[in-house]
């Protein structure tokens, strides 16, 4: 015992003991506060005459939703919530693609040797970034989309696409019977094209013959797709929207709310993406480009093979956070009555009163969406980081 006292400090100064004790105190504190809050919650909820179970989700919803997947007021709250989730995904996925394209264009314009174009892109970025996205969404909605001409006198692009205060309509493919089989054929075609791509790359690496990966892969895919299309009986047709007195018929229709939300989100996020693109291209060391030039690569090849792959690697983490922001910002659709997750949940809270459960559901949904996007971007990141490029 006496020797132990020499080698070991007393327990109240032993770091190992203190660490355990500190954590115990912390956990107890958290548990006590959480329990107190939960008791308050239970009490408050009971006073409102409701409970904390999720059973109400099965009840009849009883309210209309203006757009989205198939739904009627006779279906359950859960079904209504699902409509909101699908609408959120519809805005976020299209928004991410369009914002990336627009951001890329503006980001490259920011680096243009042309002074005027460069300055214009900069002015755009400074203007858009410093105005709250909600202000922009509401502006697009009330001052632009709703201020468009009424449906009869709306803008028409060669009689196939329309824009009016009822939203936009563009031609879209319509699936006929047999589309499912054709979808499978497309997947097979993609796999075959990928195999052809890899084969050409191997040939190129072994013999030095021109790779021609893109034309070969495209030809393989095209042949399979055309043959499959004919074999399944031509299951797709293009549907041109028609205008009647009350709205559009057929084609892909975007409601005014969807159009305004998408416009707002895409333009706002594109301004941030443009800065990311510019920063990542500038972050590639100058020597890389000079080395590529010394190897005799053409300017196009320098960009495609040397600069962009490295810039992409730098850009992916911040792009990921912009995609997450766009997805979260799609919740602002609630301010213009677009039935996405938050506004459907708001309606459900008004009808059923179970705010706690609904908000838990909302949080779980957004966290899942965030995780999915992050996982996809991490996958892309690994691909880019390991191979150095998307070959």
């Amino acid at each position: 015992m006496a020797t132990a006292a020499h080698t070991r400090p007393p327990f109240w100064r032993d770091v190992r003991v203190l660490r355990v004790a500190g954590q115990a105190v912390f956990v107890i504190l958290v548990v006590v506060v959480a329990r107190e809050m939960f008791l308050n919650l239970e009490f408050g909820v009971r006073r409102q005459g409701i409970d904390l179970s999720f059973d109400f989700l099965q009840q009849r919803a009883g309210f209309e939703i203006k757009e989205g997947i198939d739904y009627s007021p006779n279906q359950s709250f859960l079904r209504a919530f699902r409509v909101g989730v699908v609408n959120t995904i519809a805005v976020a996925s299209v928004g991410i693609v369009l914002a990336t394209v627009l951001g890329l264009v503006i980001g490259v314009a920011r680096l243009s040797p042309n002074w005027l174009l460069r300055r214009m892109a900069q002015a755009f970025v400074e203007l858009i970034r410093n105005v709250p996205v909600l202000v922009q969404i509401i502006f697009w909605y009330v001052a632009v989309v709703l201020a468009l001409p009424v449906i009869g006198g709306g803008l028409s692009v060669w009689g196939v696409a329309y824009l009016s205060n009822r939203g936009a309509a563009i031609p879209w493919v319509r699936a006929e019977p047999g589309a499912g089989a054709f979808g499978l054929v497309v997947l097979v075609g993609l796999a075959a094209a990928a195999a052809a791509w890899r084969w050409r790359l191997r040939v190129h690496e072994r013999t030095g013959a021109p790779p021609r990966r893109f034309p070969v892969a495209a030809a393989v895919f095209g042949a399979i797709a055309v043959a499959g299309y004919a074999a399944t009986g031509g299951p797709l047709s293009i549907e041109v929207p028609q205008v009647d007195r009350f709205g559009y018929e057929g084609g892909f229709q975007a409601s005014p709310e969807y159009t305004a939300l998408l416009l707002g989100l895409v333009i706002y996020t594109a301004a941030f993406i443009a800065e990311i693109i510019r920063g990542s291209i500038q972050a590639v060391p100058k020597g890389q480009r000079e080395a590529a030039e010394a190897l005799g690569l053409t300017p196009g090849q320098q960009l495609r093979l040397v600069v962009l792959p490295q810039a992409l690697r730098i850009a992916i983490p911040p792009l990921n956070s912009q995609y997450l922001n766009l997805t979260k910002n799609s919740s602002l659709g609630v301010a213009i009555g677009f039935p996405e997750i938050i506004s459907v949940s708001g309606t459900i809270i008004n009808q059923a009163g179970r705010a706690t459960q609904m908000l838990l559901l909302v949080m779980a949904t957004y966290l899942t969406l965030s995780l999915l996007i992050s996982a996809a971007m991490n996958g892309l990141n690994r691909l880019v980081a390991s191979r150095g490029a998307l070959r």
């Binding site: 002074w115 202000v135 938050i342």
Partner: protein, 416 residues
């Protein structure tokens, strides 16, 4: 060149030149001498480039024409003229507006003193223009919008307070920074007291731009310490503490702010003890603070990760306890490197105060603007009602970001 090698004060910054090494001096790339050369280099360097210039300037001219025509000819600014006070203060009672003016004077006086003490502006032509053009535009707009002589007088006093403050600040000199900082920290409670105390105005009636500023300020001040704690918690070596911090940070950041504001309105009152009645707007402020704290935590974590391990070791070798090590060695370095990210987060927090409009409970700037065009007499003037609100947000956010760039240069972020 045979300069005697001066002893550099800061080794890292000075180029290390040995006595017999030759300093290679590279001539700067020649700046274009004439306007014509500049035009050729920047706008017409090649055929496609020249074409691009022509197309871009055509678009630009068209946009400028449309904008000018809208502002001066086709727009009907009556909606702004009639609602100017509401844009600024919402439903704040007119007979109590002196409180707002008093708060404005307090802040302008402090701003003036800070300017005088800290800023040594060298008035180059661009600087003069960048101040003069907005001032002229502002005066022009006010000439059109403000008819009342009283408001002009009050605005004049504000300008006078700013100028007097600048002169006083200059007299005080740049040495008394600590009292200035204390004054700024105290200014906020003072403003709240001015609005609230002695039969003042309830928070429920605060509105307009005033409300945006107050909510943003509360969230900025309150979220900073909270975020600092969360960041330290996340890096704690106690697994329970760091797991809890990570959980809080990730959940808060993964869910949109609107959802948190709904949470603040519907669920937060249930979590608090039943007897505690917290006003709507305070609950919104709490949610803004928590939301912002999670982001501040991530920014601080980035700063902490940037502090080299050797600094920790050195501090421990000096016998500093963990708390003093953090306070004296680690945090000062970590926080300095986070200034740019922090300011840009606070800018976006200010922009986010517009989300109060989505709740439909508070008459902040955006909702005020949206409702202004809803009344019968101003129907159809949505653009005219919304654009001033957008402009106000833009001016504040843009000037804050410009200011942050200057601060960045001054504190030498990225240089040490």
């Amino acid at each position: 060149m045979s300069r005697p090698p001066a002893v550099p004060r800061d080794l890292e910054r000075a180029p290390m030149v040995g006595a017999d090494e030759r300093v290679v001096e590279v001539a700067p790339v020649a700046a274009p001498a004439t306007t014509r050369e500049w035009l050729r280099q920047n706008l017409f360097s090649s055929w496609p480039n020249g074409l691009l210039t022509i197309v871009t300037s055509a678009i630009l001219l068209y946009l400028a024409f449309r904008l000018l025509r809208f502002v001066f000819v086709s727009a009907d600014w009556s909606v702004l003229k009639a609602n100017l006070r509401v844009y600024m203060t919402g439903r704040f009672p007119v007979e109590e507006l002196w409180r707002v003016w008093a708060a404005v004077y307090l802040v302008t006086a402090l701003a003036g003193i800070s300017r005088g003490m800290l800023l040594r502006t060298r008035w180059t032509t661009t600087r003069v223009l960048s101040v003069a053009v907005p001032v002229v535009l502002l005066i022009g707009a006010l000439l059109y919008l403000v008819d009342s002589a009283r408001v002009w007088l009050l605005l004049g006093v504000a300008v006078a307070v700013l100028l007097v403050g600048t002169v006083v600040g200059r007299r005080l000199g740049p040495t008394r920074r600590a009292p200035l900082l204390v004054a700024w920290v105290l200014a906020f409670p003072a403003v709240i007291l001015t609005l609230r105390a002695f039969g003042g105005v309830k928070p429920e009636l605060w509105g307009g731009f005033l409300l945006n500023v107050i909510v943003a300020t509360v969230a900025i001040f309150a979220s900073f310490p909270l975020g600092l704690i969360l960041a330290l918690g996340r890096r704690s070596r106690l697994p329970a503490v760091s797991a809890f911090s990570v959980g809080v940070i990730e959940v808060v950041r993964g869910v949109p702010l609107v959802a948190w504001l709904f949470f603040g309105q519907f669920v937060l009152p249930l979590l608090l003890p039943a007897g505690l009645a917290v006003p709507n707007i305070v609950r919104a402020m709490i949610m803004f603070t928590i939301f912002s704290a999670a982001y501040v935590a991530e920014i601080v974590r980035g700063g902490l990760q940037g502090v080299p391990e050797g600094q920790y070791e050195a501090a421990r070798a000096l016998g500093l306890r963990p708390a003093r090590m953090m306070a004296l060695v680690i945090l000062p370095q970590a926080l300095r490197s986070t200034i740019p990210a922090m300011i840009s987060h606070f800018i976006s927090l200010f922009k986010d105060t517009s989300l109060l409009a989505a709740l439909g409970l508070f008459s902040e700037l955006l909702r005020t603007a949206r409702r202004a065009s809803a009344s019968i007499e101003f129907i159809g003037l949505q653009a005219e009602a919304l654009l001033p609100a957008a402009l106000i947000f833009w001016v504040v956010a843009f000037s804050m970001s410009r200011w942050s760039q200057r601060v960045e240069v001054r504190v030498g972020v990225g240089e040490r």
